[in-house]
Symmetry: C2
Subunit: 306 residues, 2 copies
Protein backbone atom coordinates (compact mmCIF):
# COMPACT_ATOMS: atom_id res chain seq x y z
CA UNK A 1 0.00 0.00 0.00
CA UNK A 2 1.35 3.47 -0.92
CA UNK A 3 1.16 5.88 1.96
CA UNK A 4 -0.98 8.88 1.09
CA UNK A 5 0.19 12.24 2.41
CA UNK A 6 -2.22 15.13 2.13
CA UNK A 7 -3.42 14.25 -1.33
CA UNK A 8 -0.05 13.56 -2.96
CA UNK A 9 1.41 10.12 -2.45
CA UNK A 10 5.00 9.69 -1.32
CA UNK A 11 5.53 7.97 -4.67
CA UNK A 12 4.32 10.96 -6.65
CA UNK A 13 6.53 13.26 -4.57
CA UNK A 14 9.50 11.00 -5.25
CA UNK A 15 8.72 11.06 -8.97
CA UNK A 16 8.35 14.85 -8.97
CA UNK A 17 11.63 15.28 -7.06
CA UNK A 18 13.43 13.02 -9.53
CA UNK A 19 12.01 14.87 -12.50
CA UNK A 20 12.90 18.24 -10.99
CA UNK A 21 16.45 17.06 -10.25
CA UNK A 22 16.87 15.92 -13.86
CA UNK A 23 15.51 19.17 -15.27
CA UNK A 24 17.67 21.23 -12.93
CA UNK A 25 20.75 19.23 -13.91
CA UNK A 26 20.00 19.87 -17.58
CA UNK A 27 19.56 23.58 -16.93
CA UNK A 28 22.81 23.70 -14.93
CA UNK A 29 24.58 21.87 -17.72
CA UNK A 30 23.53 24.67 -20.09
CA UNK A 31 24.33 27.48 -17.66
CA UNK A 32 27.76 26.09 -16.71
CA UNK A 33 29.21 25.07 -20.07
CA UNK A 34 32.23 22.89 -20.64
CA UNK A 35 34.87 25.30 -21.94
CA UNK A 36 38.22 24.90 -23.70
CA UNK A 37 41.56 26.33 -22.65
CA UNK A 38 42.96 27.28 -19.26
CA UNK A 39 39.62 28.37 -17.78
CA UNK A 40 38.41 24.79 -18.28
CA UNK A 41 39.52 23.88 -14.77
CA UNK A 42 37.38 26.55 -13.11
CA UNK A 43 34.22 25.58 -14.99
CA UNK A 44 35.01 21.93 -14.35
CA UNK A 45 35.20 22.61 -10.61
CA UNK A 46 31.98 24.64 -10.72
CA UNK A 47 30.24 21.79 -12.53
CA UNK A 48 31.72 19.12 -10.26
CA UNK A 49 30.06 20.56 -7.15
CA UNK A 50 26.80 21.66 -8.75
CA UNK A 51 25.63 19.12 -11.31
CA UNK A 52 24.36 15.64 -10.48
CA UNK A 53 24.13 15.76 -6.72
CA UNK A 54 21.85 16.59 -3.87
CA UNK A 55 18.13 16.30 -3.44
CA UNK A 56 17.52 19.68 -5.10
CA UNK A 57 15.03 20.62 -2.41
CA UNK A 58 15.71 24.32 -2.97
CA UNK A 59 15.29 24.06 -6.73
CA UNK A 60 12.18 21.95 -6.29
CA UNK A 61 10.67 24.63 -4.05
CA UNK A 62 11.23 27.24 -6.76
CA UNK A 63 9.59 25.02 -9.38
CA UNK A 64 6.59 24.15 -7.21
CA UNK A 65 6.16 27.73 -6.03
CA UNK A 66 6.26 28.95 -9.63
CA UNK A 67 3.68 26.33 -10.58
CA UNK A 68 1.09 28.00 -8.32
CA UNK A 69 1.13 30.99 -10.66
CA UNK A 70 1.55 29.38 -14.06
CA UNK A 71 5.13 30.58 -14.49
CA UNK A 72 6.96 29.02 -17.46
CA UNK A 73 9.11 26.02 -16.57
CA UNK A 74 12.16 27.49 -18.33
CA UNK A 75 12.07 30.69 -16.27
CA UNK A 76 11.54 28.76 -13.04
CA UNK A 77 14.44 26.44 -13.95
CA UNK A 78 16.79 29.41 -14.26
CA UNK A 79 15.92 30.59 -10.76
CA UNK A 80 16.10 27.02 -9.46
CA UNK A 81 19.58 26.72 -11.00
CA UNK A 82 20.67 30.02 -9.46
CA UNK A 83 19.66 28.91 -5.96
CA UNK A 84 21.37 25.55 -6.44
CA UNK A 85 24.57 27.36 -7.51
CA UNK A 86 24.36 29.49 -4.39
CA UNK A 87 23.80 26.41 -2.25
CA UNK A 88 26.69 24.55 -3.95
CA UNK A 89 29.03 27.51 -3.36
CA UNK A 90 28.14 27.53 0.33
CA UNK A 91 28.90 23.81 0.61
CA UNK A 92 32.27 24.15 -1.18
CA UNK A 93 33.37 26.92 1.18
CA UNK A 94 31.91 25.25 4.30
CA UNK A 95 33.87 22.09 3.50
CA UNK A 96 37.23 23.91 3.26
CA UNK A 97 39.97 22.95 5.73
CA UNK A 98 39.69 26.36 7.44
CA UNK A 99 35.94 25.82 7.93
CA UNK A 100 34.39 22.38 8.60
CA UNK A 101 37.27 20.50 6.92
CA UNK A 102 35.14 17.81 5.27
CA UNK A 103 36.49 15.25 2.81
CA UNK A 104 33.18 13.87 1.63
CA UNK A 105 30.07 15.54 0.21
CA UNK A 106 27.16 14.00 -1.65
CA UNK A 107 29.07 10.71 -1.63
CA UNK A 108 32.17 11.99 -3.40
CA UNK A 109 35.33 13.91 -2.48
CA UNK A 110 34.77 17.56 -1.59
CA UNK A 111 35.93 20.19 -4.07
CA UNK A 112 39.25 20.96 -2.39
CA UNK A 113 40.00 17.22 -2.30
CA UNK A 114 39.04 16.59 -5.93
CA UNK A 115 40.84 19.77 -7.11
CA UNK A 116 42.80 21.88 -4.64
CA UNK A 117 42.03 24.59 -2.10
CA UNK A 118 42.67 27.54 -4.39
CA UNK A 119 40.43 26.09 -7.10
CA UNK A 120 37.72 25.29 -4.54
CA UNK A 121 37.74 28.84 -3.19
CA UNK A 122 37.51 30.25 -6.73
CA UNK A 123 34.83 27.78 -7.80
CA UNK A 124 32.73 28.86 -4.83
CA UNK A 125 33.32 32.54 -5.54
CA UNK A 126 32.40 32.01 -9.19
CA UNK A 127 29.25 30.08 -8.40
CA UNK A 128 27.98 32.83 -6.13
CA UNK A 129 28.65 35.40 -8.82
CA UNK A 130 27.19 33.28 -11.60
CA UNK A 131 23.94 32.84 -9.67
CA UNK A 132 23.45 36.61 -9.96
CA UNK A 133 24.39 36.54 -13.65
CA UNK A 134 21.65 33.98 -14.24
CA UNK A 135 19.04 35.98 -12.32
CA UNK A 136 19.97 39.23 -14.05
CA UNK A 137 19.62 37.81 -17.57
CA UNK A 138 16.51 38.76 -19.52
CA UNK A 139 15.73 35.08 -20.11
CA UNK A 140 14.77 34.83 -16.41
CA UNK A 141 11.91 37.33 -16.76
CA UNK A 142 11.16 40.08 -19.28
CA UNK A 143 10.37 42.57 -16.49
CA UNK A 144 13.53 44.10 -14.96
CA UNK A 145 11.59 44.85 -11.76
CA UNK A 146 11.05 41.12 -11.24
CA UNK A 147 14.70 40.30 -11.91
CA UNK A 148 16.03 42.98 -9.58
CA UNK A 149 13.64 41.86 -6.84
CA UNK A 150 15.00 38.30 -7.15
CA UNK A 151 18.58 39.62 -6.99
CA UNK A 152 17.76 41.76 -3.95
CA UNK A 153 16.13 38.82 -2.15
CA UNK A 154 18.91 36.35 -2.95
CA UNK A 155 21.69 38.77 -2.02
CA UNK A 156 20.04 39.44 1.34
CA UNK A 157 19.40 35.75 1.98
CA UNK A 158 23.00 34.78 1.22
CA UNK A 159 24.85 37.75 2.73
CA UNK A 160 26.08 38.79 6.18
CA UNK A 161 22.51 38.98 7.53
CA UNK A 162 21.69 35.63 5.97
CA UNK A 163 23.68 32.52 5.13
CA UNK A 164 27.15 34.02 5.67
CA UNK A 165 26.06 35.52 8.98
CA UNK A 166 24.71 32.14 10.07
CA UNK A 167 27.96 30.44 9.14
CA UNK A 168 29.86 33.01 11.21
CA UNK A 169 27.57 32.33 14.20
CA UNK A 170 28.15 28.60 13.73
CA UNK A 171 31.94 29.00 13.79
CA UNK A 172 31.77 31.24 16.85
CA UNK A 173 29.42 28.86 18.66
CA UNK A 174 32.01 26.10 18.30
CA UNK A 175 34.65 28.29 19.91
CA UNK A 176 32.40 29.68 22.64
CA UNK A 177 32.76 28.65 26.26
CA UNK A 178 29.00 28.45 26.82
CA UNK A 179 26.70 26.33 24.64
CA UNK A 180 23.99 28.24 22.75
CA UNK A 181 20.48 28.33 24.15
CA UNK A 182 17.37 27.46 22.16
CA UNK A 183 16.64 30.94 20.74
CA UNK A 184 20.28 31.37 19.69
CA UNK A 185 20.32 28.01 17.91
CA UNK A 186 17.06 28.86 16.18
CA UNK A 187 18.47 32.15 14.99
CA UNK A 188 21.72 30.54 13.79
CA UNK A 189 19.81 27.99 11.75
CA UNK A 190 17.35 30.53 10.39
CA UNK A 191 20.28 32.49 9.00
CA UNK A 192 22.52 29.62 7.95
CA UNK A 193 20.00 27.46 6.08
CA UNK A 194 16.56 28.99 6.60
CA UNK A 195 17.01 32.16 4.57
CA UNK A 196 17.92 30.37 1.32
CA UNK A 197 15.04 27.93 1.77
CA UNK A 198 12.68 30.84 2.38
CA UNK A 199 13.99 32.51 -0.78
CA UNK A 200 13.40 29.31 -2.73
CA UNK A 201 9.80 29.02 -1.60
CA UNK A 202 9.07 32.71 -2.21
CA UNK A 203 10.85 33.08 -5.58
CA UNK A 204 8.07 31.49 -7.63
CA UNK A 205 5.61 34.07 -6.31
CA UNK A 206 7.93 36.86 -7.42
CA UNK A 207 8.31 35.29 -10.87
CA UNK A 208 4.52 35.00 -11.05
CA UNK A 209 3.93 38.56 -9.79
CA UNK A 210 1.66 37.07 -7.16
CA UNK A 211 -0.40 39.11 -4.71
CA UNK A 212 1.32 39.97 -1.42
CA UNK A 213 -0.77 37.49 0.59
CA UNK A 214 0.22 34.61 -1.64
CA UNK A 215 3.86 35.62 -1.65
CA UNK A 216 3.89 35.90 2.14
CA UNK A 217 2.19 32.53 2.48
CA UNK A 218 4.93 30.82 0.49
CA UNK A 219 7.67 32.68 2.39
CA UNK A 220 6.15 31.62 5.72
CA UNK A 221 5.88 28.04 4.47
CA UNK A 222 9.57 28.20 3.50
CA UNK A 223 10.60 29.53 6.90
CA UNK A 224 8.85 26.73 8.80
CA UNK A 225 9.96 24.10 6.30
CA UNK A 226 13.55 25.29 6.64
CA UNK A 227 13.44 25.10 10.42
CA UNK A 228 11.92 21.61 10.31
CA UNK A 229 14.50 20.54 7.72
CA UNK A 230 17.35 21.66 9.94
CA UNK A 231 16.06 19.72 12.94
CA UNK A 232 15.56 16.69 10.71
CA UNK A 233 19.13 17.07 9.44
CA UNK A 234 20.41 17.18 13.01
CA UNK A 235 18.30 14.14 13.90
CA UNK A 236 19.80 12.27 10.95
CA UNK A 237 23.30 13.35 11.94
CA UNK A 238 22.63 11.95 15.41
CA UNK A 239 21.12 8.67 14.24
CA UNK A 240 21.99 7.75 10.62
CA UNK A 241 25.05 6.09 9.14
CA UNK A 242 27.72 7.77 7.01
CA UNK A 243 26.82 5.39 4.21
CA UNK A 244 23.19 6.46 4.07
CA UNK A 245 24.07 10.16 4.20
CA UNK A 246 26.98 10.33 1.73
CA UNK A 247 28.80 12.58 4.17
CA UNK A 248 30.34 12.23 7.61
CA UNK A 249 27.77 11.85 10.41
CA UNK A 250 27.75 12.20 14.19
CA UNK A 251 30.06 15.10 13.43
CA UNK A 252 27.98 17.63 15.28
CA UNK A 253 28.17 15.90 18.62
CA UNK A 254 31.85 15.16 18.06
CA UNK A 255 32.54 18.78 17.25
CA UNK A 256 30.49 19.90 20.25
CA UNK A 257 28.14 21.73 17.90
CA UNK A 258 25.04 23.18 19.42
CA UNK A 259 21.91 21.66 17.87
CA UNK A 260 18.32 21.57 19.04
CA UNK A 261 18.63 17.78 19.15
CA UNK A 262 21.50 18.08 21.61
CA UNK A 263 19.55 20.58 23.68
CA UNK A 264 16.06 19.04 23.65
CA UNK A 265 16.82 15.38 23.09
CA UNK A 266 15.69 13.31 20.12
CA UNK A 267 12.02 12.96 21.04
CA UNK A 268 11.27 16.59 21.83
CA UNK A 269 13.25 17.74 18.79
CA UNK A 270 11.20 15.41 16.62
CA UNK A 271 7.97 16.79 18.08
CA UNK A 272 9.09 20.33 17.36
CA UNK A 273 9.88 19.42 13.75
CA UNK A 274 6.42 17.92 13.43
CA UNK A 275 4.83 21.06 14.81
CA UNK A 276 6.77 23.15 12.28
CA UNK A 277 5.66 20.91 9.43
CA UNK A 278 2.03 21.28 10.47
CA UNK A 279 2.47 25.04 10.53
CA UNK A 280 4.14 25.01 7.11
CA UNK A 281 1.15 23.10 5.73
CA UNK A 282 -1.26 25.60 7.24
CA UNK A 283 0.42 28.53 5.52
CA UNK A 284 -0.21 27.12 2.05
CA UNK A 285 -3.81 26.06 2.60
CA UNK A 286 -4.92 28.93 0.34
CA UNK A 287 -3.40 27.22 -2.69
CA UNK A 288 -5.61 24.14 -2.44
CA UNK A 289 -4.76 20.93 -4.28
CA UNK A 290 -2.21 22.66 -6.47
CA UNK A 291 0.14 22.76 -3.48
CA UNK A 292 -0.17 19.05 -2.64
CA UNK A 293 3.44 18.39 -3.55
CA UNK A 294 4.59 21.22 -1.29
CA UNK A 295 2.62 19.57 1.54
CA UNK A 296 4.11 16.20 0.70
CA UNK A 297 7.58 17.76 0.73
CA UNK A 298 6.96 19.18 4.20
CA UNK A 299 6.05 15.70 5.46
CA UNK A 300 9.00 14.20 3.63
CA UNK A 301 11.67 16.42 5.19
CA UNK A 302 11.04 14.93 8.63
CA UNK A 303 10.50 11.38 7.38
CA UNK A 304 13.50 11.03 5.09
CA UNK A 305 16.29 8.66 6.05
CA UNK A 306 19.12 10.28 4.08
CA UNK B 1 55.77 74.73 -10.57
CA UNK B 2 52.79 72.39 -10.65
CA UNK B 3 52.89 70.00 -13.58
CA UNK B 4 49.83 70.46 -15.80
CA UNK B 5 48.38 67.32 -17.34
CA UNK B 6 45.77 67.71 -20.03
CA UNK B 7 44.01 70.60 -18.33
CA UNK B 8 43.84 69.17 -14.81
CA UNK B 9 46.91 69.60 -12.62
CA UNK B 10 48.38 66.67 -10.76
CA UNK B 11 47.50 68.62 -7.62
CA UNK B 12 43.82 68.88 -8.54
CA UNK B 13 43.77 65.14 -9.33
CA UNK B 14 45.32 64.40 -5.97
CA UNK B 15 42.73 66.60 -4.26
CA UNK B 16 39.88 64.92 -6.17
CA UNK B 17 41.21 61.45 -5.34
CA UNK B 18 41.45 62.35 -1.66
CA UNK B 19 37.94 63.77 -1.62
CA UNK B 20 36.57 60.71 -3.42
CA UNK B 21 38.33 58.37 -1.00
CA UNK B 22 36.83 60.24 1.97
CA UNK B 23 33.33 60.21 0.49
CA UNK B 24 33.61 56.51 -0.39
CA UNK B 25 34.79 55.69 3.12
CA UNK B 26 31.80 57.53 4.55
CA UNK B 27 29.44 55.66 2.23
CA UNK B 28 31.05 52.33 3.13
CA UNK B 29 30.75 53.20 6.80
CA UNK B 30 26.98 53.57 6.29
CA UNK B 31 26.62 50.47 4.11
CA UNK B 32 28.68 48.23 6.42
CA UNK B 33 27.36 49.14 9.87
CA UNK B 34 28.94 48.28 13.18
CA UNK B 35 26.59 45.68 14.66
CA UNK B 36 26.11 44.18 18.10
CA UNK B 37 26.11 40.52 19.06
CA UNK B 38 27.81 37.52 17.55
CA UNK B 39 27.65 38.76 13.95
CA UNK B 40 29.80 41.70 15.02
CA UNK B 41 32.94 39.80 14.03
CA UNK B 42 31.82 39.30 10.42
CA UNK B 43 30.93 42.95 9.90
CA UNK B 44 34.15 43.95 11.65
CA UNK B 45 36.16 41.82 9.21
CA UNK B 46 34.22 43.22 6.25
CA UNK B 47 34.91 46.76 7.45
CA UNK B 48 38.56 46.02 8.23
CA UNK B 49 39.37 45.14 4.62
CA UNK B 50 37.12 47.69 2.94
CA UNK B 51 37.17 50.99 4.83
CA UNK B 52 40.13 53.33 5.00
CA UNK B 53 42.53 51.82 2.54
CA UNK B 54 43.54 51.79 -1.08
CA UNK B 55 43.61 54.52 -3.67
CA UNK B 56 39.91 53.99 -4.58
CA UNK B 57 40.72 54.15 -8.26
CA UNK B 58 37.69 52.02 -9.11
CA UNK B 59 35.35 54.09 -6.99
CA UNK B 60 36.84 57.30 -8.37
CA UNK B 61 36.17 56.05 -11.92
CA UNK B 62 32.51 55.51 -11.04
CA UNK B 63 32.21 58.99 -9.57
CA UNK B 64 33.95 60.73 -12.49
CA UNK B 65 32.04 58.68 -15.08
CA UNK B 66 28.78 59.57 -13.35
CA UNK B 67 29.75 63.25 -13.33
CA UNK B 68 29.74 63.31 -17.16
CA UNK B 69 25.98 62.77 -17.03
CA UNK B 70 24.97 64.78 -13.98
CA UNK B 71 24.21 61.69 -11.87
CA UNK B 72 23.60 62.45 -8.19
CA UNK B 73 26.65 62.00 -5.99
CA UNK B 74 24.76 59.78 -3.55
CA UNK B 75 23.75 57.29 -6.27
CA UNK B 76 27.27 57.24 -7.71
CA UNK B 77 28.71 56.70 -4.22
CA UNK B 78 26.58 53.58 -3.77
CA UNK B 79 27.92 52.08 -6.99
CA UNK B 80 31.46 53.20 -6.09
CA UNK B 81 31.05 51.45 -2.72
CA UNK B 82 29.76 48.30 -4.39
CA UNK B 83 32.78 48.07 -6.69
CA UNK B 84 35.15 48.73 -3.79
CA UNK B 85 33.47 45.91 -1.81
CA UNK B 86 33.93 43.61 -4.78
CA UNK B 87 37.57 44.64 -5.08
CA UNK B 88 38.16 44.20 -1.34
CA UNK B 89 36.63 40.71 -1.42
CA UNK B 90 38.96 39.72 -4.27
CA UNK B 91 41.98 40.95 -2.30
CA UNK B 92 40.93 39.07 0.87
CA UNK B 93 40.58 35.79 -1.04
CA UNK B 94 43.71 36.35 -3.17
CA UNK B 95 45.74 36.87 0.00
CA UNK B 96 44.61 33.56 1.59
CA UNK B 97 47.29 30.94 2.33
CA UNK B 98 45.87 28.66 -0.38
CA UNK B 99 46.15 31.48 -2.93
CA UNK B 100 48.98 34.08 -2.86
CA UNK B 101 49.60 33.66 0.90
CA UNK B 102 50.24 37.31 1.67
CA UNK B 103 50.65 38.71 5.18
CA UNK B 104 50.50 42.38 4.31
CA UNK B 105 47.97 44.45 2.38
CA UNK B 106 47.54 48.22 2.24
CA UNK B 107 50.21 48.46 4.92
CA UNK B 108 48.44 46.29 7.50
CA UNK B 109 47.99 42.58 8.20
CA UNK B 110 45.82 40.74 5.68
CA UNK B 111 42.35 39.63 6.80
CA UNK B 112 43.28 36.05 7.64
CA UNK B 113 46.19 37.36 9.73
CA UNK B 114 44.13 39.98 11.56
CA UNK B 115 41.22 37.56 12.08
CA UNK B 116 41.52 33.95 10.95
CA UNK B 117 41.11 32.03 7.70
CA UNK B 118 37.49 31.05 8.23
CA UNK B 119 36.51 34.64 9.02
CA UNK B 120 38.49 35.93 6.03
CA UNK B 121 36.76 33.51 3.66
CA UNK B 122 33.35 34.51 5.04
CA UNK B 123 34.15 38.23 4.99
CA UNK B 124 35.08 37.93 1.30
CA UNK B 125 31.96 35.93 0.53
CA UNK B 126 29.82 38.48 2.36
CA UNK B 127 31.40 41.46 0.64
CA UNK B 128 30.74 40.00 -2.80
CA UNK B 129 27.14 39.36 -1.84
CA UNK B 130 26.69 42.74 -0.19
CA UNK B 131 27.92 44.52 -3.34
CA UNK B 132 24.88 43.09 -5.14
CA UNK B 133 22.59 44.05 -2.25
CA UNK B 134 23.78 47.63 -2.58
CA UNK B 135 23.26 47.73 -6.36
CA UNK B 136 19.83 46.11 -6.12
CA UNK B 137 18.50 48.64 -3.61
CA UNK B 138 16.15 51.32 -4.90
CA UNK B 139 18.39 54.03 -3.44
CA UNK B 140 20.91 53.26 -6.21
CA UNK B 141 18.50 54.25 -8.99
CA UNK B 142 14.69 54.51 -9.18
CA UNK B 143 14.62 52.58 -12.48
CA UNK B 144 14.89 48.80 -11.98
CA UNK B 145 16.22 48.45 -15.54
CA UNK B 146 19.26 50.53 -14.57
CA UNK B 147 19.84 48.55 -11.38
CA UNK B 148 19.57 45.16 -13.08
CA UNK B 149 21.93 46.29 -15.84
CA UNK B 150 24.51 47.24 -13.19
CA UNK B 151 24.05 43.85 -11.49
CA UNK B 152 24.40 42.04 -14.81
CA UNK B 153 27.57 43.94 -15.69
CA UNK B 154 29.18 43.50 -12.28
CA UNK B 155 28.35 39.79 -12.07
CA UNK B 156 29.90 39.19 -15.49
CA UNK B 157 32.97 41.27 -14.68
CA UNK B 158 33.59 39.44 -11.41
CA UNK B 159 32.62 35.90 -12.41
CA UNK B 160 34.27 32.94 -14.14
CA UNK B 161 34.63 34.87 -17.41
CA UNK B 162 35.96 37.89 -15.54
CA UNK B 163 37.94 38.37 -12.34
CA UNK B 164 37.59 34.81 -11.01
CA UNK B 165 38.56 33.39 -14.40
CA UNK B 166 41.63 35.62 -14.47
CA UNK B 167 42.64 34.50 -11.00
CA UNK B 168 42.32 30.87 -12.12
CA UNK B 169 44.55 31.59 -15.15
CA UNK B 170 47.05 33.27 -12.84
CA UNK B 171 47.23 30.25 -10.55
CA UNK B 172 47.60 27.88 -13.48
CA UNK B 173 50.29 30.02 -15.08
CA UNK B 174 52.39 29.68 -11.93
CA UNK B 175 52.13 25.91 -12.11
CA UNK B 176 52.65 25.66 -15.89
CA UNK B 177 55.89 24.33 -17.36
CA UNK B 178 55.98 26.97 -20.12
CA UNK B 179 55.81 30.72 -19.40
CA UNK B 180 52.82 32.57 -20.89
CA UNK B 181 53.29 34.50 -24.11
CA UNK B 182 52.24 38.12 -24.58
CA UNK B 183 48.65 37.52 -25.73
CA UNK B 184 48.06 35.07 -22.89
CA UNK B 185 49.38 37.54 -20.30
CA UNK B 186 47.21 40.27 -21.80
CA UNK B 187 44.16 38.06 -21.59
CA UNK B 188 44.92 37.02 -18.00
CA UNK B 189 45.24 40.63 -16.90
CA UNK B 190 42.17 41.75 -18.83
CA UNK B 191 40.15 39.20 -16.91
CA UNK B 192 41.82 39.47 -13.52
CA UNK B 193 41.88 43.25 -13.12
CA UNK B 194 40.70 44.79 -16.39
CA UNK B 195 37.06 43.74 -16.25
CA UNK B 196 36.34 45.40 -12.89
CA UNK B 197 38.11 48.59 -14.00
CA UNK B 198 36.08 48.58 -17.21
CA UNK B 199 32.91 48.15 -15.16
CA UNK B 200 33.91 51.07 -12.95
CA UNK B 201 34.45 53.39 -15.91
CA UNK B 202 31.23 52.31 -17.63
CA UNK B 203 28.94 52.29 -14.60
CA UNK B 204 28.43 56.06 -14.50
CA UNK B 205 27.11 55.97 -18.06
CA UNK B 206 24.58 53.31 -17.08
CA UNK B 207 23.50 55.36 -14.04
CA UNK B 208 23.16 58.38 -16.34
CA UNK B 209 21.27 56.45 -19.03
CA UNK B 210 23.86 57.73 -21.49
CA UNK B 211 23.74 57.15 -25.24
CA UNK B 212 25.50 54.00 -26.47
CA UNK B 213 28.43 55.92 -27.97
CA UNK B 214 29.20 57.64 -24.68
CA UNK B 215 28.85 54.44 -22.73
CA UNK B 216 31.18 52.60 -25.12
CA UNK B 217 33.71 55.43 -24.97
CA UNK B 218 33.94 55.15 -21.19
CA UNK B 219 34.14 51.35 -21.35
CA UNK B 220 36.98 51.53 -23.91
CA UNK B 221 38.77 54.11 -21.74
CA UNK B 222 38.41 51.74 -18.79
CA UNK B 223 39.81 48.78 -20.75
CA UNK B 224 42.95 50.67 -21.82
CA UNK B 225 43.36 52.29 -18.42
CA UNK B 226 43.12 48.88 -16.77
CA UNK B 227 45.76 47.39 -19.05
CA UNK B 228 48.09 50.35 -18.45
CA UNK B 229 47.45 50.13 -14.71
CA UNK B 230 48.43 46.47 -14.63
CA UNK B 231 51.70 47.10 -16.47
CA UNK B 232 52.42 49.99 -14.11
CA UNK B 233 51.70 47.71 -11.15
CA UNK B 234 54.13 45.14 -12.50
CA UNK B 235 56.73 47.85 -13.09
CA UNK B 236 56.32 49.00 -9.49
CA UNK B 237 56.59 45.44 -8.26
CA UNK B 238 59.85 45.12 -10.16
CA UNK B 239 61.31 48.42 -9.01
CA UNK B 240 59.70 49.85 -5.84
CA UNK B 241 60.27 49.06 -2.18
CA UNK B 242 57.95 47.16 0.11
CA UNK B 243 57.73 50.26 2.28
CA UNK B 244 56.44 52.48 -0.53
CA UNK B 245 53.88 49.89 -1.66
CA UNK B 246 52.44 48.74 1.67
CA UNK B 247 52.60 45.16 0.44
CA UNK B 248 55.32 42.69 -0.45
CA UNK B 249 57.17 43.55 -3.69
CA UNK B 250 59.45 41.70 -6.15
CA UNK B 251 57.04 38.86 -5.43
CA UNK B 252 56.14 38.29 -9.05
CA UNK B 253 59.68 37.57 -10.18
CA UNK B 254 60.26 35.48 -7.05
CA UNK B 255 57.12 33.49 -7.73
CA UNK B 256 58.06 33.09 -11.40
CA UNK B 257 54.87 34.96 -12.32
CA UNK B 258 54.46 35.85 -15.95
CA UNK B 259 54.21 39.62 -16.42
CA UNK B 260 54.64 41.81 -19.46
CA UNK B 261 57.54 43.47 -17.68
CA UNK B 262 59.30 40.12 -17.39
CA UNK B 263 58.60 39.36 -21.03
CA UNK B 264 59.31 42.75 -22.64
CA UNK B 265 61.74 44.30 -20.20
CA UNK B 266 61.17 47.48 -18.22
CA UNK B 267 61.61 49.98 -21.05
CA UNK B 268 59.37 48.34 -23.64
CA UNK B 269 56.74 47.63 -20.99
CA UNK B 270 56.77 51.28 -19.99
CA UNK B 271 56.34 52.31 -23.64
CA UNK B 272 53.39 49.99 -24.01
CA UNK B 273 51.76 51.46 -20.92
CA UNK B 274 52.24 54.95 -22.34
CA UNK B 275 50.66 53.91 -25.62
CA UNK B 276 47.67 52.52 -23.72
CA UNK B 277 47.29 55.72 -21.74
CA UNK B 278 47.30 57.78 -24.96
CA UNK B 279 44.60 55.48 -26.36
CA UNK B 280 42.56 55.79 -23.16
CA UNK B 281 42.70 59.59 -23.46
CA UNK B 282 41.57 59.43 -27.10
CA UNK B 283 38.48 57.45 -26.22
CA UNK B 284 37.12 60.15 -23.93
CA UNK B 285 37.85 63.13 -26.18
CA UNK B 286 34.10 63.46 -26.80
CA UNK B 287 33.54 64.53 -23.20
CA UNK B 288 35.72 67.64 -23.48
CA UNK B 289 36.96 69.45 -20.38
CA UNK B 290 34.53 67.67 -18.14
CA UNK B 291 36.72 64.56 -18.43
CA UNK B 292 39.98 66.31 -17.50
CA UNK B 293 40.28 64.37 -14.24
CA UNK B 294 39.82 61.08 -16.11
CA UNK B 295 42.70 62.13 -18.40
CA UNK B 296 44.82 63.12 -15.44
CA UNK B 297 44.07 59.75 -13.83
CA UNK B 298 45.26 57.95 -16.96
CA UNK B 299 48.56 59.84 -16.79
CA UNK B 300 48.80 59.23 -13.07
CA UNK B 301 48.49 55.46 -13.22
CA UNK B 302 51.79 55.15 -15.05
CA UNK B 303 53.53 57.91 -13.10
CA UNK B 304 52.61 56.87 -9.57
CA UNK B 305 55.33 55.62 -7.28
CA UNK B 306 53.16 53.55 -4.92
Amino acid sequence: MTMVIGGASAASLAAALTEAAQDIDEALDQLLPVVEGDEARLFEAMRYSTIGGGKRMRGFLVLEGAKQFGVSRSAALRVASAIEMMHAYSLIHDDLPAMDNDDLRRGKPTSHKAFDEATAILAGDSLQCHAFTVLADEATHPDPAVRIELVRMLARAAGPRGMCGGQMLDIMAEQAAEPLDEPAIGRLQLLKTGKLIEFSAEAGAVLGKAAAAQRHALAAYGRDLGAAFQIADDLLDATASTEAMGKATAKDADAGKATLVGLLGIERARMQAERLVAQARDHIEIFGERADLLRALADYVIERRS
